[in-house]
Every structure is written in C-alpha cells, then in structure tokens.
C-alpha cells in the first residue's frame, strides 16, 4: 500500500501506469472485440486512409485492417517483450547470485564469461543468435533475453556480494542452513527489489529490441503482425501512405514511454536509498523557524555561546525534539565535554552550531549561537560558509567516511585551505605538509600524496584533525573523534588534541559517551539526556560528586578497570522517545529517587554552586561520593 502511495507521488509514473494499464487491458480483450480479421488480405482496398468506412485507422499494403493488426500486434509485442524480460531477469539473477554468493574462482569464471557476452554490440549478438537459430518470434525472444542476461547478472552479482558478507548470512550458516537454503531464504528476499527495479527499467528496451528484430524480418513471420513487422512492412510506403508507419510507430512510442516513466517511478519507490531521502538534497544550511525572541549571548568571556538552542526533526507529521533548549559556552583554550548516550541530542547540538543539520527534516526552532558576538542561527549562507572550516572546524567520528576516497589527502587539505584563503597552490601544499607534521604523521612530505585507504585508522583521524586545523580555527567541534580507534591510538590522538589546544588557544567542544576520555581531556563537562542538559560543571567535581541521579547512575554502569569480576550496575528501561517526552523530568521513569514534583511542570537547570548547575528538584548531596 505504501508502495502504491509512493509511486503515485510521482505524477509522471502515475500517468505511465494509467497508460500501461489501458494498453494492457486493450491487449487482453483484443480477441473479444468486434474487429476485422487481422490477416485477411483484400488487395482491392489497399492503403485506405484513416477514418474511412469499415477501417478506422485505414488499411495496409495488402488491404488488411490496421486497427485490428495494431491491437493484435501490440498483444504479441507486449507478450514477447515481457517474456524476454522475465527470462533475462530469472537467468541473469540466478547467474549473478551464484557468482556473488560463492565468490572467488566461480565468480571470476562466470563474470569473465558475462564480460565476453557484453563485448559484442547487442544487435550484432542478437543477429548472430537469430542467424544460428533461424528467424521466428520464439528465436527473437531467445536472442533478446540472451542479450540482456549480462545486465541482470552484473547488477545482481554486485548486490549479492554485499549481502553475502552480512553477518546474518553467517548466522544462518551457524543455524545449520545449507547453501541452497541460504540463497533462497536469506539472499533472494533481499535481492528481489533490485531485480524488480532492473526489470522495470529494461522492459521497454526489450520490447523495442524485439520490434527491431521483427522490423528486420527476423522476428514475427508474415502474415502474423507484431509492431516491429508492421513497421517493417510499411517502410516501402513511408512517403505515399505515411499512416501505415505512423500507427505502429506511435504505439511503440506510447508503450515504451509509459513503461519507462513507470519503471523510473517503481525504481524510486523501491530503492531504499532514494526512499530514505538521498534524492531530497538537503539545504546548504539548516532551516530556521524561530518564533520566540532571540536570546542574547549569556557566557561573558565565551568565544562560542549557545543559548536556548532548540532543534527538531519533522518527519511524517511527527516532531522529534532532538535538542530541547541547550545552553553551553566555550572559552578560548577551554575544552568542554558534552556527554550523553545515543539519541540524547549531543551530535545534533554540535551540528546545529554551524547549521549542518540536514534540512529537511531538521529545523532550528529557537535559541541562538553566538560566535565572536555574531548570531549564527539564521545568518546568511555566505556568512556561514565563510566561518565553516575557517573559524569553526569539525572533526567527525569516522575519518574513513569524511575523507574523499578518490583524492589524495594532500589534494583535500589544499582544497580546504584554498576554499578560504586565496593562496597559491604551492604555498597551500607547503602548509599542508606542515599540518601533517603538526599532527605527527611520520614522513609528512611523502605521506601527503597517499590516498585515504592507504592510511591506518589512527593516521586517517590525524588527517581529519589536520584538516580541521587547516585554517587555524578558533573553535573545534569534535564529535566522538576517537570512538572508532584502538585504545593505544586513542591515547595518542587525545594527547595531540590536548597539546594543540594549549599551544594554540583552541576552544574545543568535545562530544563523547566515554567518561574516561572526558576526565582526561575536558575542563568542564555537560551531561545530556533526552535533548537537554541535566548537569554541568567542572569535570573533577562532577565525576567525583555527581549531583544528578542520571549522571551518577550512568557513571556506575561503566566498569572501572581494576575491579575484577563482578555484576555491573544498570539503569533499567530506556530513554524516552523525543517525539513523546513526559511532563517534568525525562529521567523520572528510570530514577529510583523519583518524587511527585519530578513529574510536574518544567524542571529548570538550577545553580548548585558557583560553577555547577543541575536539572533536578532533589539533587544528590554534593559531597556524596559517586556510587
């Protein structure tokens, strides 16, 4: 049902569907219609024009009724085209799945064979097949199907390789399933959408190819009509009686157009990548829809001050309040840790600062982000673009995903520098080498011409950091920069960041889920839960004496080394969904200190001491040790 609705959203595809439905219906009911016999020659009535009596579309060179031949011909062409498409899809998919699933030598042999088939121009190959088998509609069908098998085989093999290496296939094997069963029940259901997509985009092409062979006299044999042979027979009278060519030609045009429009629609509706919005290009900056007055910057000496920031995602009539009023400020040379579990809104907060949240569906609905006194929320795109990567830079979790695989790291660094500063290429390159040296990449002058895949994960993340440093920014926003790295490499990267911020006076907003990392690097920490900050203050004070029950419980869940074998503390339940937040404290449902006041009204972030604040009506006694 949702498939049809998605399809109907595409008007052209809907039009194609309607036209195809009409053509198919006509083809199906052709035997029941009161038509003249299609193959009876009546040479006395040759080339009668359209709309003459007894022959609505006129007659052809043998005086046969064109309307009747058109409908019978359409019926035949559709049947042959579809049969060829199904044959090619089934055989091609089977070959592709076998090659992709077994891999190695099997794959190599099969795919080289397929490559050889593809090396011939398709019409030459089809002609050769028909020449070998003899003319006839059945042989034309075989030829068209054979010519299209490589297309399906290659497509399906690619998809199968991806699926065959998924963990659920290993799991199926461990469940005792045989290879045949794994192919049929694990792989095939995941491949079927791709087969349908490939078919929907090629059926029109195959009808055209069949018509082409018939046009050359190699397909349907006289007197049987199909669209291609009608066109071929009318060729001689193209100038004197053009209607004999126009009628089948127009039908071919209508059918192929309709099928292709429908096919594109089917592809768009089925393709999971397109469904998830890969085709809606996000705006260059996050949409802003603030109704409340813009708050002024609060943090006095802060370089970056986030005040009352609210970011929502609007998906299918639901509103997910990912960030529900966050206040943060970072001073020069300071490292602020933003800690939370997945879904707490920490990354969305970071991306909102520079308007990098994808819109649609993201919308910033309130608050301000002051950088150097200027409000960035709702700033002109040109302003944002100038600041992004120049004054405020990002480091992301996965350098494999953020570095372009086809360019050398040097090219990418030079591009990052020259995007903001009009310096000669050679100068930018020299600076890039310096940067790689600054992030301790050994032999930087040689490594600059490496591609990202030639570097280890730790080295790639150093490149990510070098790129963030390229324009000597004032603020770095680091989103889980060491989560994907091994511990020994993580220690190296953290030491590097710490050294850089002390040497350059960088302000760092460091996002992580790891209290150990926070403890080592951050001066202050803010803990997020369900889109809001629940506790903030100096790192040492919070880690040794947490005031919010969530902070305390979360820290207790993390096993500390040196404790030996033991049961771990847990927090029962799950965080609330941010599209349905409860009144009062979002943690109330999981808190063992909950009171009636926790479930009513707005719980505010209240100062606890001069430099600490907590969003809890009954905070743990500051001074109580962490549980």
């Amino acid at each position: 049902m949702s498939f049809l609705r998605l399809l109907a959203r595409n008007r052209l595809a809907l039009a194609g569907l309607v036209v195809m439905a009409c053509v198919c219906l006509l083809a199906l009911v052709t035997p029941l219609l009161p038509l003249a016999a299609p193959d009876i020659t009546d040479t006395g009535n040759r080339f009668r024009p359209p709309f003459s009596e007894g022959a609505l579309l006129g007659t052809d060179h043998l005086g046969r009724d064109l309307l009747s031949r058109l409908l019978w011909g359409t019926r035949l062409s559709l049947a042959v085209g579809l049969a060829a498409a199904v044959t090619a899809a089934v055989l091609g998919a089977a070959i592709g799945i076998v090659a992709g699933f077994y891999g190695g030598r099997t794959d190599n042999l099969i795919m080289r064979g397929v490559d050889m088939l593809m090396a011939f121009p398709y019409i030459l190959l089809a002609l050769a097949i028909v020449a070998a088998l003899g003319p006839g509609l059945m042989n034309a069908l075989i030829a068209v199907a054979a010519v299209n098998i490589p297309f399906f085989a290659r497509n399906i093999r690619g998809v199968t390789v991806g699926i065959a290496h998924k963990e659920f296939v290993d799991a199926a094997r461990l469940s005792g399933m045989s290879d045949l069963r794994i192919v049929l029940t694990e792989i095939l259901p995941n491949v079927v959408p791709v087969i349908v997509i490939a078919m929907s985009t090629t059926v029109g092409w195959m009808i055209l190819e069949t018509a082409g062979l018939s046009f050359l006299g190699l397909g349907s044999q006289p007197p049987v009509a199909d669209l291609g042979s009608m066109l071929g027979e009318a060729r001689a009278a193209l100038i004197t009686s053009p209607h004999t060519s126009v009628v089948p030609g127009a039908m071919i045009l209508v059918i192929v157009m309709a099928i292709n429009l429908l096919g594109d629609g089917v592809r768009d509706a089925l393709d999971p990548r397109l469904k998830s919005g890969a085709l809606n290009r996000p705006l260059p900056a996050t949409q802003v829809a603030r109704d409340a007055p813009v708050p002024a910057a609060q943090g006095g000496a802060a370089l970056l001050s986030i005040d009352g920031l609210k970011t929502e995602f609007r998906v299918k009539g639901r509103v997910y309040r990912a960030v529900g009023g966050v206040d943060l400020d970072v001073r020069p040379g300071e490292c602020l840790g933003l800690v939370g579990e997945s879904g707490s809104g920490k990354s969305v907060t970071a991306l909102s600062v520079m308007g990098l949240v994808a819109s649609p569906p993201g919308v910033i609905t309130g608050g301000s982000v002051h950088f150097d006194g200027q409000d960035l929320i709702g700033a002109r795109y040109e302003t944002l673009r100038r600041i992004r990567g120049d004054r405020v830079a990002y480091i992301f979790q996965d350098p494999q995903a953020t570095l372009h695989p086809l360019y050398t790291i040097g090219t990418q660094l030079v591009e990052a520098i020259r995007a903001h500063h009009a310096v000669p290429r050679a100068e930018a390159r020299a600076r890039a080498v310096d940067l790689l040296g600054a992030v301790r990449i050994p032999n930087a002058a040689a490594r600059i011409d490496s591609y990202p895949h030639e570097l280890s994960g730790g080295m790639r993340q150093r490149v990510g950091i070098a790129m963030a440093l390229a324009n000597d920014p004032d603020v770095i926003i680091a989103d889980e920069p060491t989560t994907a790295l091994d511990v020994t490499v993580q220690a190296q990267i953290l030491a590097l960041l710490d050294e850089l911020r002390r040497a350059r006076g960088l302000a760092i907003l460091f996002i992580t889920h790891d209290f150990g990392v926070v403890a080592q690097l951050c001066d202050r920490v803010a803990v997020m839960y369900a889109g809001r900050i629940v506790e903030t203050g100096p790192t040492d004070a919070i880690l040794s004496r947490p005031a919010h029950p969530y902070t305390a419980r979360l820290m207790a869940c993390v096993p500390a080394p040196g404790g030996g074998r033991r049961r771990l503390a847990t927090i029962p339940g799950l965080p609330p969904s941010v599209d349905d937040l409860p009144a009062g404290c979002a943690f109330a449902g999981r808190c063992d200190l909950v009171q009636d006041t926790c479930r009513r009204g707005e719980i505010t972030l209240d100062p606890l001491t001069a430099d600490r604040a907590v969003r809890c009506p009954t905070p743990l006694r500051a001074g109580a040790p962490a549980s």
Binding site: L174, S175, G176, V487, T488, Q490, A491, L494, G563
Partner: protein, 321 residues
C-alpha cells in the same frame, strides 16, 4: 576433565590478490600457531587491537573460516568442518553488530526457528515451547516474535542474537564484541544477562573485546593478542593490574580512566607493524621500551607462575604496580 575447547597449533594465513590460476600475490599471517585450552565453565577474555587476529580466531572456532594449520577439539572431539549443522550444535557465535546479524526481511520468529529446525529438527509445537523458554531466559516478550528486526533497539536486538545462539543448545558461545555497539547503560544490562545465562545453562564463553574494563569485569582468564600471537595469558584480576608483558602494560596505561591524568604512554608516531612486511623476532620489539638484541628471536609463550603465561624475553616484574 576434558576441556571445553582445545586448540592445537591453530593458525590462519590469508592469500591476498588471488589470481585465476597460479599462486597468490602475497600471503598474510593473520594468526600465528596458537595452542590453548579453555576449561568447561570458564570465561576466557580475548583482548587486542584491530588487526590482532581476534576475529579471525573467532570465525575459525565456529567454522566460518577454515584453519590453515592445526586442529580444534570441542569437548574432546575434533571439529569436522564438513557438516555445519554438527558444528552449530556444539559452538555458537554472538555477533558484534546486533542489527546487521538479523535478516531485515524475516520476523524474529523465523530467525529464532532456523537453528531449532535445521540443527535439531524439532516439530512446530516443540519449537514454540523452546522459543518461549529461551525468550523468558533473556527477558524478551513473546509479542516481539512477529516483529521485524528494524523495530528493535540495539540492546533488544543483541538479546535476540543471544537468544538465537542459545537456541542451538551449544555449550560454548563465542561472544565477538557483543556490547561494543551498545550504550553503556544497556551494555551493563547485557553483560549481567550473559553472566546469568552462563550459570543457568552451564556455558563456556570466549569473550572478545577491545575494552579492557569490560573484559576484566566478565572474565576468569584473559589472553592478550598482539599481531596474531598471544603475548600474555593470565587471571583477569591480575593481568591489567600487574601486567607482565610490556604490551599488556601499554594497553592498560592507554585506557582512559576517570582520575588518571592524560599522558600518551608511548611515542606518538608508533603504529602496528605492516602485515605484508612482518617484522622479525618479537613483533612488539619496535614499540617496546625494554627491547634488546635478544628480542630478534621470537619469544615463546611460557609459564611464569600463578597461572600466567607470557611471551617475552624481558617480562615486567610482577611486584611492580
């Protein structure tokens, strides 16, 4: 008593750049010959960084990879790779990524029934009863059975993965980073569940992880892997507190800990050795502060008192903190 698992000289070499005919372009030793015994009922932790061979080891143990040399004995009987069903009944695997280990187009019931049907040939009624029993053990509601994997959170999906492994009724479970994709609060729930299941069903675990604190919290003994070899094997409560091998020491010092100041414990440029161009002698030699000329020969893993084995010519002093 027969050990649950006995590995003799187990190793794996991968061929790189396979050609249609002829020898491969290069070979990489992912796992050096390994001899190891895991007593029944033990949790053996395996730690190491990416590329150290821990996943290769795990995949060989469950028959997803063929060993290059050596043999695997489970409860006294050698493993026969020819019959995956025989394998599956004796040893099972819990995957790292809970979502991608569940086929997105199958319901949880179909996923849970697969091992019961193909490994044990149970009837429909027997399957339903067994699934209900297992779901109760892992604290999942029966209502989940008719849903699809994408409807679950990571923690729930990992419980389903554990339930599937239990359904095979194997006595040995290989847990390959079972909690590294989960949030800390959920991670603790899953670790406690694993501890309960172990007592309830008398299981033996091989717990693979890169997180030292987690491994220490769940294991009886821990094996530290570096570049395809075990460099240290010892009791969990001792191994990171008083490491004997310099690499174990480096791992323990690198783990970020609340209350310890940031200090990169080694030079900042050091990297793992290149597997295509392996070093001679001890693989850790280039990074090791205690390396000497003696380290040009490969040290063997040898006993070193109180259940510890260490592969080092210059082990650290056990009394040293």
């Amino acid at each position: 008593m027969t050990p649950a698992l006995r590995l003799t000289d187990l190793s794996k070499t991968f061929d790189l750049g396979k050609r249609l005919i002829g020898p491969p372009r290069a070979r990489v030793r992912a796992l050096q010959p390994l001899t190891l015994e895991v007593p029944s009922g033990e949790t053996l932790g395996i730690v190491g960084e990416s590329g150290c061979g821990k996943s290769t080891l795990a995949r060989m143990l469950v028959g997803l990879l063929e060993p290059s040399t050596g043999r695997i004995e489970i409860e006294g009987a050698p493993l026969d790779r020819a019959d995956p069903a025989a394998f599956g009944r004796r040893i099972q695997y819990v995957f790292q990524d809970p979502i991608s280990s569940l086929n997105p187009r199958k319901t949880i019931r179909q996923i849970m029934e697969a091992p019961l049907r193909h490994l044990h040939g149970m009837t429909r009624a027997a399957r339903a009863a067994r699934i209900a029993e297992i779901f109760a053990a892992v604290n999942l509601r029966d209502a989940f059975l008719d849903r699809y994997p994408h409807e679950f959170s990571g923690g729930q999906a990992q419980r389903i993965g554990i339930a599937r492994a239990l359904a095979a009724e194997a006595r040995i479970l290989i847990l390959d980073e079972p909690v590294s994709a989960l949030d800390v609060s959920v991670q603790a729930q899953v670790l406690n569940l694993l501890a309960d299941l172990k007592t309830q069903f008398g299981l033996t675990y091989l717990f693979i992880s890169h997180d030292l604190a987690v491994v220490e919290a769940v294991s009886d003994r821990v094996a530290v892997l570096y570049f395809g070899s075990v460099v240290e094997l010892g009791p969990a409560e001792r191994i990171f507190a008083r490491p004997r091998h310099p690499y174990t020491r480096l791992l323990a010092d690198s783990a970020p800990v609340v209350g310890r100041r940031l200090a990169a414990p080694e030079g900042r440029e050091t990297e793992l050795p290149d597997p295509l161009n392996p070093p001679t002698g001890c693989a850790f030699r280039a990074r090791c502060p205690r390396a000497s000329a003696l380290c040009a020969t490969v040290p063997a893993l040898r006993p070193d008192g109180d259940g510890t084995e260490v592969a080092c010519h210059h082990p650290l002093d056990p009394e040293q903190g």
